[in-house]
């Protein structure tokens, strides 16, 4: 596959971003660490704070976390917690940002995260947004809106800045711009074969909440421009959609296997994927209400019922002309693991084959997963 200069640029952006954050802190700017798509960036930025993502995708800090947390919870929660209590990733470069946040803004999604945040509060100031989990009830929206107002207050208190309607509107426009850029990039993946690999796209997605919005948009524009120039030779590869758990920075395990076995990933129904940018925020409404309406509809498996996710998967599969779905879950992620059954039934009905893979951040199962993926590719071609 093509090598893109803009990807090299994104890859090398880590150190620049770290220096930027260090500089910002010197000038008194507050840095907020987040884990989850349910935390609206727009409010953080409107308060004049900066934001970096803290989701851990590296295996090295899992064992550090196991001194505090049970072994049988998901590796993302363990890796993140381990990185934060360790102020970095123990000898792993590109990890120091974990020790640079003034406040963690968390959210009540799954049990493991929820309870982990209670422990995290001992190490770093942690603010938790409570998330109602019946997204379609009118009460839920009202409650979530209230939570967002409280969160806005907390951000104002942290930064000493007032969040104005104008500032919020500006940030909403800016975030929508980023979302539209991702739509444009994904649009190019509808070609057969797509001009960019899934592993490459994932590397951008993993930096989505790490880079400053300006850097992210600049990188995306550069990448889109490069991808548009690509002339692909025709060769049909099975078109795969990954659906399931997030693939946090440092974790490209499953996409790497899929694409090394002859498949090509054309879409990710994931937090590191469509769930992060698919819906825009309505720019014509009251900004706080528009944010609440947009964010509460993110089809995370902590929601119940979560039929919106099933509909979304079927819609994406059609739109991206998917040959097969790899249902990817992290070990002990009960929400996505249990939802697998419903997704499998829906895909079966639609005539789309699905392969389920449950794994962690370790390498011990590479061979076994490789075999399943080999067989799945043989099945699709």
């Amino acid at each position: 596959m093509q090598r893109f200069n803009s990807l090299e640029y994104i890859k090398n952006s880590y150190n620049a971003r770290i220096s930027q954050i260090a500089e910002e802190r010197k000038t008194g700017k507050k840095i907020v660490g987040t884990f989850c798509l349910f935390v609206p960036d727009e409010i953080i930025f409107a308060a004049g704070a900066d934001r970096i993502i803290l989701c851990g995708g590296k295996n090295e800090t899992v064992s550090i976390a196991e001194q505090y947390l049970p072994r049988n919870i998901c590796p993302l929660v363990k890796s993140s917690f381990g990185s934060i209590v360790n102020n970095g990733c123990s000898g792993v470069k590109s990890c120091s940002h974990f020790g640079m946040v003034d406040m963690v803004v968390a959210e009540n999604t799954c049990d493991s995260k929820k309870k982990m945040y209670e422990l995290l509060g001992d190490y770093v100031p942690t603010y938790v947004i409570d998330l109602p989990q019946r997204p379609d009830s009118p009460e839920a929206l009202k409650y979530f809106l209230g939570e967002l107002y409280k969160f806005k207050g907390a951000m104002e208190q942290l930064t000493g800045n007032k969040v104005t309607i104008e500032q919020l509107k500006k940030e909403i426009e800016s975030s929508n711009e980023t979302r539209k850029l991702f739509h444009k990039l994904y649009g190019l993946r509808k070609m057969d074969p797509p001009p960019i690999s899934g592993v490459d796209v994932l590397k951008v997605l993993q930096k989505q909440y790490f880079l400053s919005t300006e850097e992210l948009k600049k990188s995306l524009r550069m990448l889109i421009c490069e991808v548009e120039q690509v002339e692909v030779e025709w060769a049909h590869k099975p078109r795969i959609m990954i659906s399931g758990c997030p693939m946090a920075g440092g974790n490209t395990k499953i996409p790497e296997i899929i694409e090394s076995k002859g498949g090509v990933i054309v879409a990710e129904e994931s937090c590191t994927g469509t769930r992060s940018f698919w819906d825009l925020v309505d720019e014509d409404k009251d900004p706080m209400l528009a944010l609440a309406e947009r964010y509460i509809k993110i089809p995370c498996s902590c929601m119940s019922p979560n039929n919106r996710r099933i509909d979304n998967i079927l819609e994406l599969a059609r739109e991206f002309k998917v040959d097969g779905v790899v249902y990817y879950t992290l070990q002990f992620c009960h929400g996505y693991n249990i939802e697998r059954y419903k997704v499998q039934q829906a895909l079966k009905k639609a005539g789309i084959p699905m392969l389920a893979i449950e794994t962690d951040y370790g390498d011990s199962d590479l061979e076994q997963i490789g075999l399943r993926v080999d067989a799945f590719m043989e099945m699709l071609s």
Binding site: P353, D365, E367, Q368, L371, R372, D374, A375, E378, M379
Partner: protein, 253 residues
């Protein structure tokens, strides 16, 4: 046309030589440490058995856990596809395959020889040949005896542990409580059958199901699986070589 399929498994290496679509010879030997060495020996033996010279072989295809170590193979194929092709060749009406090998078990749904869905258990020894090997040891029995003895049991003991290590201690504690050997053996066999049957039901195997892999040679497991699933299973005369046969067929296609 002459093609050879080699199935490089964790416990045994199998080779099948096809001459114009007809099985001319097959061999099974222990894999031991070196996958490539075992494959080379299996290749040599199957050529000798069939009385074929190496230079007359058109293609060699490899499958199985060690498939990528078989340097002299022209192509490789996953054992899931290989089993489907091999079993379909023997039973053209087959709709499902249960394969229990040394370190994993698989259930495969097939339609016209093509794989339509599959499930594997490979992270844990539950429901595999390894489970039987360990637990047979706890009963001081050679593994071949385990199944035979289990068939004589009238009141199988209940083994609830799926984990091989715990099942072994469970078997020992049943021994200490005075349970008969055949009843414990039957309990162990039923526990493997139960585990595999859950997978078979998940994939939706119903009729025309073949049982292959090394463990299919164990009559006790076959009976227990048939009881658990409520169907009768096809077991080929040589259930261990369907993967190698499939690889050979893949090569000649």
């Amino acid at each position: 046309m002459i093609s050879v399929g080699i199935d490089s498994g964790s416990a045994t290496t199998k080779a099948v030589l096809l001459n114009d679509g007809r099985i001319a010879a097959h061999v099974i030997l222990p894999t031991a440490f070196d996958f490539l060495l075992a494959a080379e020996k299996a290749y040599k033996d199957v050529l000798a058995d069939a009385g074929v010279d190496k230079t007359d072989v058109n293609h060699v295809c490899a499958t199985g856990y060690g498939r990528n170590s078989i340097k002299f193979a022209d192509r490789t194929i996953s054992e899931i596809t290989a089993h489907a092709m091999g079993v379909y060749h023997l039973y053209p009406d087959v709709n499902g395959i249960i394969d229990i090998g040394g370190q994993d078990s698989k259930v495969i749904s097939v339609n016209g020889g093509r794989v339509t869905d599959f499930l594997m258990n490979d992270k844990c020894a539950a429901g595999t040949g390894k489970f039987l090997e360990y637990t047979a040891k706890a009963l001081e029995l050679p593994i071949e005896e385990l199944g035979r003895l289990a068939l004589t049991s009238k009141t199988p003991a209940s083994i609830t542990s799926m984990c091989t290590v715990f099942a072994e201690s469970e078997a020992i504690s049943l021994r200490a409580r005075g349970f008969r050997k055949e009843d414990i053996a039957a309990g162990l066999i039923e526990s493997v059958a139960r585990r595999v049957a859950v997978m078979a039901r998940q994939v939706g195997l119903k009729q025309n199901v073949a049982f292959v892999g090394g463990v299919a040679k164990n009559a006790g497991i076959k009976v227990a699986l048939e009881k658990e699933l409520g169907i009768s299973l096809y077991v080929p005369p040589e259930p261990q070589v369907t993967g190698a046969l499939g690889a050979a067929l893949y090569c000649s296609s």
